[in-house]
Amino acid sequence: MTTFHWVTQLLYVASAVCFVLGLHLMNSPATARRGNQVSTGGMALAIATTFALVVHAGTVTATGWIVMIAGILVGAGAGLYSARTVQMTAMPQLVSLFNAVGGGAAALVAVHDYVRLAGATTGVPESTTIPTILDVLIGAVTFSGSIIAAGKLQGVINAAPVTFRGSRAANIAAAVVGVGGGAYMIATPSVPVMIIIILAALAFGVTMVMPIGGADMPVVISLLNAFTGTAVAMAGFVIGNWALIIAGALVGASGSILTKLMADAMNRSLRNIMIGGFGTGDSTPAVAGPGGDVRSVAADDAAIQLAYAQKIIIVPGYGLAAAQAQHQVAELAALLEERGAEVSYAIHPVAGRMPGHMNVLLAEANVPYPQLKEMEEINPEFSRADVALVIGANDVTNPAARRVGTAISGMPILDVDQAKSIIVIKRSMGHGYAGIDNELYVNPKTSMLFADAKSALTDLIASVKTLVG
């Protein structure tokens, strides 16, 4: 090993240290920004080191330089533009898109290496073939799966589970071709077979994500994130680059942890989610009255209840984000705080379309993060709350989850029914994702404010202001 290679390898180790420290600093909102800066520094170092390696190799043709630099400029421009203009409600789509391009790039790195080695007289060594197969399979599944997920989140593709006759069979067939082709490649190196398994993996990604409904997206995005990390690590195996292996493994770990947390928060196994959820999506407008009396309330009366409460817990759900009403809720909370009330937010792990999504939306609306409480932290506090204000959340507040034998049995829920009184802002008595009646709505302590989240909150703000005088 030459001195030059020693130095570049050590610089890669330094950048890996930055990635780990950067992720470590994310354990508190106070240090998270510094974490991102440290991680950015590590990335800059890794890219600079790679640039030095590329120059040092001295084999890059003029065309090679042009395509590489042009590619970087085009990609960087697109990334910068999308990162600066994206709405916070659209974060899940953007993360999905970055998963897609990351996984796609990882697959292409292996494709190039494989084609080059297959053309050489020495052939493809076995220790390269296996990571190559894993890289192209995982990378291609991530690419097409993430694009479908982004399309569903953006509303370009039907967000409800989409299945057609034989869609399961197509999915299984794609998996069989991918794995079978991969096994063939280990025995007999072949570029055409690699192209076949890439196509099969792309088809597998599409047929895997299409049947999954919108409310399961937090799990899907986390899983695809883990896939991307693994694909990048495999690309590192292929080209023998430690920086890719370490960074890919870190992302793989992060994605796996989040996948497990999200699946646990829905009390569903990963297998159950991938096979296709219950219900038909999150937009069932079915008007079905649960067995019991529902008490409807006007905005004025709800405002009085809120204005004279000492302790208020707001329970935001995806309906709030869908109505783009996070700024209104923050304004109402600020108003109530001015009157001396204690306001906090109860955030269920799956409130939103990706892990922690609701926290970002509320942070954007200028809600201080100490007010955002996790489920375990807030649940004991509900019994002391004068009012629990539920906005656009349904299944995660349904006490039926505590009993056995319902569609959501065992799902961890927010103990909203423990509050002294409950106000639910909801457009209709429609069902949530699980497609069952919410027993909270017939609780004698509950008043229903039937309206769109945004207009209801605007009315509440106006009414509270009038009361203040």
Partner: protein, 115 residues
Amino acid sequence: MTAELLTDITIFVLALLVGFEVISKVPATLHTPLMSAANSIHGIVLAGAMLIAVTADNALGYILAFVAAAFAAMNVVGGYVVTGRMLKMFRRSRAPVPAGDTPAAVNGQRTGGRA
């Protein structure tokens, strides 16, 4: 099977364990920025994309180098910028609102981006 492969597997497994250890301490409040940060980190694949150029000498190689570099650069630049933008929003206390009405009430919504 080579010694290099064994080293690579060792590094991979240890990095995976470090990842589990570090990331399991991140609070739920920061899960979206965490995922976005992890997203930026897998932008390291840009290093791999750049190295394609070292051995590319035909049309296919150039196309792969271009597309891979574009994909990876989008990943890395977009990832870090959007993570930074998000983290800037997390405040311990309410940011002072300019005199007059709140921007939220005036505009209904903001993109939150001054980045």
